[in-house]
């Protein structure tokens, strides 16, 4: 862990311990520096947003945190452990799950099967139990189905539970992807443009869903979003990026009035 990240951890531990702290993150693709000097932390039960113009490197930051890219420098400390460069499934297993900009469901499987697959690591019964169809196995399968039903109710997809996921409407697919993340019982939920392609009513429902998840499931949320009304409405803090670098950070009010942010979005005179 570098000195800065350690400092950041120490500083925030005084307030409320952050569950994620990113320090001086850098991602370089050959000669191109996609992300450089990104430092922020997400507190417990906080909704933290990353915004910025297209190509600012927001999704690259996501890919580094979730382990799909191996950052070239910097620290990502989650739950006191530096997870930078670890494999994606290992990071997901520690409690950081994410959605994707272009929804990635198991399209030929049914909605409920999508939720069963997500519970794979929680199902503890071994191969032998399943082969012999023991009572423990039947109970575990039944519980998995019940948990799936609970989450389908929560995102109001119960009616389409037995349909193929690929046949759902776009809004339904987005909600299913969030439910599939939540059923793994994460500590940090990362949403990559969750409102993209949603109509205004669906966006309002998404707003409520995210708050509800934070309040009832005590999950922290890190999101990338272009829909400014949604971001300003639900975020506790916002990081603004441009050309791979941070240009502002703070509460929605502070960010909204920051001259750098206004220049980045509207251009300077």
């Amino acid at each position: 862990m570098s000195g800065d990240a350690a400092e950041a951890v120490a500083k925030n531990a005084a307030e409320s311990a952050p569950i994620l702290s990113v320090g001086r993150l850098q991602m370089r693709f050959g000669g191109l520096v996609a992300v450089d000097g990104i430092t922020f932390d997400v507190a417990d039960k906080e909704i933290y947003a990353i915004i910025g113009p297209n190509g600012a490197g927001k999704t690259t930051v996501f890919n580094c945190i979730s382990g799909f890219y191996k950052p070239t420098a910097g620290d990502i400390v989650f739950d006191g452990i530096n997870i930078a460069g670890r494999s994606s499934h290992d990071i997901a297993g520690r409690g950081i799950v994410r959605t994707f900009q272009n929804v990635r469901l198991f399209r030929n499987m049914t909605v409920v099967e999508n939720l069963l697959v997500a519970q794979h690591t929680q199902l503890k019964t071994g191969l032998l139990h399943g082969l012999l169809n023991t009572r423990a196995y039947q109970r575990s399968e039944k519980e998995a189905l019940e948990r799936a039903a609970f989450w389908l109710d929560k995102v109001s997809l119960r009616e389409v539970a037995n349909r193929e996921a690929g046949n759902l409407s776009y809004g339904q697919q987005r909600r299913l992807e969030i439910a599939r993340c939540m059923i793994t019982r994460p500590q940090l939920l990362m949403l990559d443009e969750p409102a993209a392609g949603l109509n205004p009513q669906e966006t309002v429902a998404l707003d409520q869903l995210i708050r509800d998840l934070r309040d009832t499931c005590s999950v922290s949320v890190l999101l990338i979003e272009h829909d400014m009304s949604l971001v300003m409405e639900i975020s506790d803090r916002i990081l603004v990026m441009e050309y791979g670098q941070p240009i502002a950070e703070g509460t929605p009010e502070k960010v909204r009035n920051d001259p750098n942010v206004i220049r980045a979005y509207l251009g300077s005179e």
Binding site: R98, R104, V112, V117, L131, L145
Partner: protein, 414 residues
């Protein structure tokens, strides 16, 4: 039924009949004979015509007989399940009864036993290729490892078939883990190349490691399986041991021994088919399917792709190990020549022909590909040619296989 479905069925039937015609007319209907006047072309189109008609009619009737299509009411699905059980029962009864009909000649029983071995191999490979979507071009290697495991255990330690069977499966599984662990971390295509190479390495090793495997001569005089603890050979291998026939008080007849071997092979197939059909419904089966669909999504949900692929690969190879052990016991000898690349190719063709991920299709295709050459010895030279033609035609017209799997869904009761 809607008009479009009708025309589709009709079109399917015509295509199937045309394929049959292309395959049967030149191969079966025409024959070159050397006579005093030179080469004479004999034409006899009776049987090809019958075949074409049968295929055409069967294809017409099939959609009406088979399980109803998508989105049926719950009550119907229940019926379909009952129907399927009935079908399975009929298949089992047929497999048990036919040897006692006039069909059950010694040659036929032996051919069917070989077919059972191929079913077992193909069911195993179907896990790897069909369910997990990994291309394995060296399945015969694990078949060989199973066969040699039993042969060596029998030769050196005198282990019987039933004691060695789990060990043969384990050793094939263990080798597959050693091979798969480094390879399955990489992208999919590498497995095909590595297994292809591994198949050759195993065969060449068996061929050259004289001190262990006796080289090209192989290992002979391997014990046959016992039945209920009795030997099924003419004379007991141990002194004053009792054979099954002495215990039953009947005279030894070679066909009895063949029958017992056939039933043991059938038993292995039934057990394998049952275990695999359970595996597919279990969490691990769902994970295989999810991984085939979207590996990145799986990783983001904490599923470890390497481990999941490895379970499929090692389980599939384990069944090849079982098949190998039975093969060694059945023939009584193993030689490296039995495990050439062509064996891997045949097993893979069976899986592709039957329908990847479809157990019933794989069983059907295994029967077809192993029994047809028995019936049609006359044009054995054309076997590979027909194989190739069938494969190409299948890829063009029916990539989902002869009898594709209907996906088994988990339903949430409302």
């Amino acid at each position: 039924m809607r008009e479009t479905t009708k025309t589709k069925i009709l079109k399917d039937a015509f295509i199937a009949a045309a394929v049959t015609a292309v395959l049967t007319f030149p191969m079966v209907g025409m024959r070159l004979n050397v006579e005093s006047t030179g080469l004479v072309l004999h034409k006899n189109f009776l049987w090809p015509t019958v075949a074409v008609l049968v295929v055409f009619l069967a294809r017409l009737v099939l959609p009406f007989v088979l399980i109803p299509k998508v989105s049926v009411p719950a009550a119907w699905t229940q019926k379909a399940v009952d129907y399927k059980k009935w079908w399975l029962g009929a298949f089992v009864v047929l497999a048990l009864v036919w040897p006692f009909t006039p069909l059950g000649s010694g040659a036929m029983v032996t051919a069917m036993t070989m077919a059972m071995i191929y079913i077992l191999l193909a069911l195993g490979l179907n896990i790897v290729v069909g369910y997990a979507g990994l291309l394995d071009l060296g399945h015969a290697a694990f078949y060989a490892i199973g066969a040699y495991t039993y042969a060596l255990l029998n030769l050196h330690f005198g282990l019987g078939f039933w004691e060695a069977l789990p060990l043969a499966g384990l050793s094939a599984g263990l080798f597959s883990i050693l091979l798969g662990f480094p390879i399955l971390r990489l992208r999919g295509d590498y497995l095909a190349i590595v297994t292809l190479g591994f198949g050759e390495i195993v065969r060449i090793t068996l061929n050259n490691w004289d001190s262990l495997t006796h080289g090209p001569d192989g290992i002979n005089n391997i014990s046959k399986p016992t039945l209920l603890g009795y030997e099924i050979t003419r004379r007991s291998r141990v002194e004053d041991g009792t054979t099954l026939w002495q215990a039953l008080g009947i005279d030894y007849n070679h066909i009895y021994q063949q029958l017992v071997l056939y039933f043991i092979a059938f038993l292995l197939v039934v057990v394998a088919a049952f275990l695999i059909s359970r595996l597919v419904k279990m969490p691990v089966g769902r994970a295989w399917e999810a991984l085939r669909e979207d590996e990145i999504a799986c990783r983001s949900l904490a599923l470890n792709p390497t481990i999941i692929k490895l379970t499929a690969f090692s389980l599939g190879c384990m069944f090849a190990g079982f098949a190998g052990a039975f093969y060694a016991a059945f023939l009584g000898s193993v030689t490296p020549a039995s495990f050439e690349f062509i064996e891997s190719a045949i097993i893979l063709s069976i899986v592709v022909l039957g329908g990847m991920g479809s157990q019933r299709g794989v069983i059907l295709a295994a029967l077809a590909l192993t029994l047809l050459p028995e019936f049609a010895r006359g044009f054995a030279e054309y076997r590979m040619l027909i194989f190739g033609a069938v494969m190409v035609l299948m890829m063009v017209w029916r990539p989902q296989g002869l009898w594709p799997a209907s996906r088994r869904r988990v339903e949430l009761p409302s």
